[in-house]
């Protein structure tokens, strides 16, 4: 029984990491329709610049906002320099551009921070918690609280503020949105900046658990993307649920089937979802625009 509980808790802990990444994916995808394969790199930059700031002697609570700010500026730069000039290109070209950006940022990460893993202290130092024989890492509780806060904030932002509505409108129908006086290219920039900041938040939150290396981006980026698909591409709560589900699937398949094939089973499940419920697990089917 305590095995089951431990698997569940580990699954949720890992899942919360994927969920944080997925939130950033959904934000960019919802506004620009661009699948940003460099999203994981934003997490890497956030985490590693936070490590550097802490090593410079800045207290962790000051270092985190600074790291998020730095990453947001980089996100802004990426959109202006790489995405905006190609805004009319086909999705395939945009995918390749974000791949290029991802390779570029990874290379910069390697030059600046080197290859050895760096660890980041958690916001609050505390021992792990015993819970009916299972162990919970205290950092993962903070991640859950943060996820909850982010969910509320993003809901409020996208549904209750003018700029949030404008952002959503730019994706739903860019032409109509621009007729309504919305500057869609500004919206794209805003979306990238926000997504970079969200990526950085993910990075600084997960670094105390997983450590930060320059190559961490791609792997967690792909997992975040899977979470987003489980959630149905367009929904922030869906992406969070998708992330948690992915984590739990990994933990249970590792625990009860085989740790050798954990990722294979997770991606196999993804393919099943894509084949049979391409609209996501938590969504009703909607009419697809042609």
């Amino acid at each position: 029984m305590d095995l089951f509980l431990q698997y569940l808790i580990t699954g949720l802990t890992v899942g919360s990491i994927y969920a944080l990444l997925a939130v950033g994916f959904v934000t960019i995808y919802n506004v620009t329709g661009v699948l940003n394969l460099a999203q994981g790199e934003f997490a890497m930059i956030g985490a590693l610049s936070c490590v550097t700031l802490v090593n410079l002697g800045i207290p962790i609570l000051g270092a985190i906002p600074l790291a998020i700010l730095i990453t947001a500026i980089i996100g802004f730069g990426v959109e202006r320099l790489a995405i905006y000039p190609a805004r009319n290109a086909t999705p395939i070209i945009l995918v390749v551009i974000t791949l290029g950006v991802s390779i570029f940022l990874k290379g910069m990460g390697l030059i600046i921070w080197g290859s050895s893993p760096k660890s980041l202290p958690p916001i609050v130092e505390s021992r792990s918690i015993q819970f009916f024989g299972a162990v919970i890492n205290s950092q993962s509780i903070w991640i859950f609280i943060l996820l909850f806060v982010l969910l509320i904030l993003l809901y409020w932002f996208f549904d209750k503020t003018f700029i949030g509505s404008a952002l959503r409108a730019s994706e739903k129908n860019p032409h109509a949105a621009s007729l309504m006086g919305i500057n869609t290219s500004t919206m794209s920039t805003i979306a990238f900046t926000i997504a970079a900041a969200l990526g950085a938040i993910a990075g600084v939150m997960i670094a105390p658990l997983t450590d930060a290396t320059y190559e961490m981006g791609f792997f967690i980026g792909i997992k975040g993307f899977v979470a987003m698909i489980f959630g149905g591409m367009h929904s922030v709560p869906g992406a969070v649920a998708g992330g948690l589900l992915l984590g739990v699937i990994e933990a249970f398949s590792g625990g009860y089937i085989s740790t050798y094939y954990t990722d294979a089973l997770a991606f196999g499940f993804l393919l099943l979802v894509l084949f049979f419920r391409p609209q996501g697990l938590f969504m009703r089917a909607t009419g697809e625009r042609v």
Binding site: L35, A82, P85, A86, A89, T90, P91, I92, I93, V95, V96, I97, L99, G100, V101, S102, I103, F104, L105, K106, G107, M108, L110, I111, F218, I222, F225, V226, I229, Y260, Y261, D263, A264, F267, G268, L270, L271, L274, F275, P278, V290
Partner: protein, 340 residues
């Protein structure tokens, strides 16, 4: 009628013959083993990228998972020859047929997806295949790789020799080009292009779009399998990391940088990226005395710049120049006529 043919498809033989001449002449200019290795690898990669260009450029479907098919080909060849002493040519054929069937079955489901989602599904397939290659260590040798893959030989001619292998690989490239251009010139090619432009439009014409898409997907996978077999027999050793997603990305980048709408573009892209890597390495180390880290940055930068400023790839640039040349030639003609 012949004229119409010429106008529709151009003289493909001239470029083709030129290319054959080039490949045959090259060994007279090169003596360095290193450049030979590069050209052999370029040939092997070209087989994959030509298939990818059919899939992306003509059928309009993306794949970031062709390293998986490359790997299946390499492993079928490797396992059957190294562990079961099968004839390499037979193993290569089995690999191609097996890959075609696997890809056909995968394609039936996967190609229902579009755009970004299709890209992710192919990444997922690549990762699953990679994990199986590592996990099924009793068969594949697992993470430590598979050693002892024999060299190829043909009618008693040992092909382990660089020069012989060079000709073998490029002979295969020519066969693949020939086969592919025939497909493009046939009515299948026209259907594919119309799928690329509008899938729904083509479907409304009563064409079974799915069937064509799947067939091209499976064909490109079969090319990748052939290339994988050639790779395995050339390096004589294979290990799973070679067939991971990063290689799929490299292949995709080669096709995109070269220009996706022509198989010549795919080949130019393949050669360009391979030489670019070597040039960056060479220039970086000798001129600027910088280390490998900077290579990655430059590589990423070049991808972004090419995609922004040359979305049609390198071949697109040649295309525009070609048109300019024609235009200016036409102007001259007009001018000279007036003069007379």
């Amino acid at each position: 009628m012949e004229k119409v043919e010429a106008i529709l498809y151009g003289s493909r033989w001239k470029g083709f013959l030129g290319f054959i001449a080039l490949i045959c002449l090259l060994p007279f200019f090169i003596s360095s083993q290193y450049i030979f290795t590069l050209f052999i690898l370029i040939g092997i990669y070209c087989i994959v990228t030509i298939g990818l260009s059919l899939l992306i450029g003509y059928a309009g479907q993306i794949s970031i998972g062709h390293a998986a098919f490359f790997g299946i080909g390499a492993y079928v060849s490797g396992v059957l020859t190294a562990k079961h002493d099968m004839s390499p040519w037979l193993a290569m054929g089995i690999g191609m047929i097996a890959t075609f069937l696997i890809a056909y079955m995968i394609g039936m489901q996967v190609l229902k997806l579009k755009g970004h989602i299709l890209a992710l599904a192919t990444i997922a397939i690549n990762i699953i295949v990679y994990i199986l290659l590592v996990g099924l260590s009793d068969i594949t040798g697992g993470a430590s790789g598979l050693i002892g893959i024999p060299n190829l030989s043909l009618f008693g001619l040992e092909l382990g020799n660089q020069l012989h292998y060079y000709f073998l690989v490029w002979a295969f490239v020519f066969l693949v080009i020939l086969f592919s251009t025939n497909i493009i010139r046939s009515n299948v090619g026209r259907v594919l292009r119309s799928i690329h432009d509008s899938e729904i439009g083509t479907e409304t014409l009563g064409v079974n779009v799915t069937k064509y898409k799947i067939a091209i997907f499976a064909l490109s996978a079969m090319y990748a399998s052939l290339a994988g077999s050639l790779y395995a027999h050339y390096i004589n050793f294979i290990a799973p990391p070679t067939f991971n997603v990063s290689f799929s990305i490299l292949l995709l980048v080669m096709v995109m940088v070269g220009g996706v709408h022509s198989i010549w573009g795919a080949m130019i892209g393949t050669a360009a990226i391979m030489f670019l890597n070597e040039v960056i390495r060479f220039v970086g180390h000798t001129v600027f005395n910088i280390s490998g880290e900077v290579e990655i940055v430059v590589y990423g930068l070049i991808i972004v710049v090419v995609m922004i400023f040359m979305p049609k790839g390198l071949i697109g640039v040649l295309d525009i120049r070609g048109k300019f040349a024609i235009k200016s030639a036409a102007k001259k003609n007009v001018a000279s006529e007036k003069g007379v």
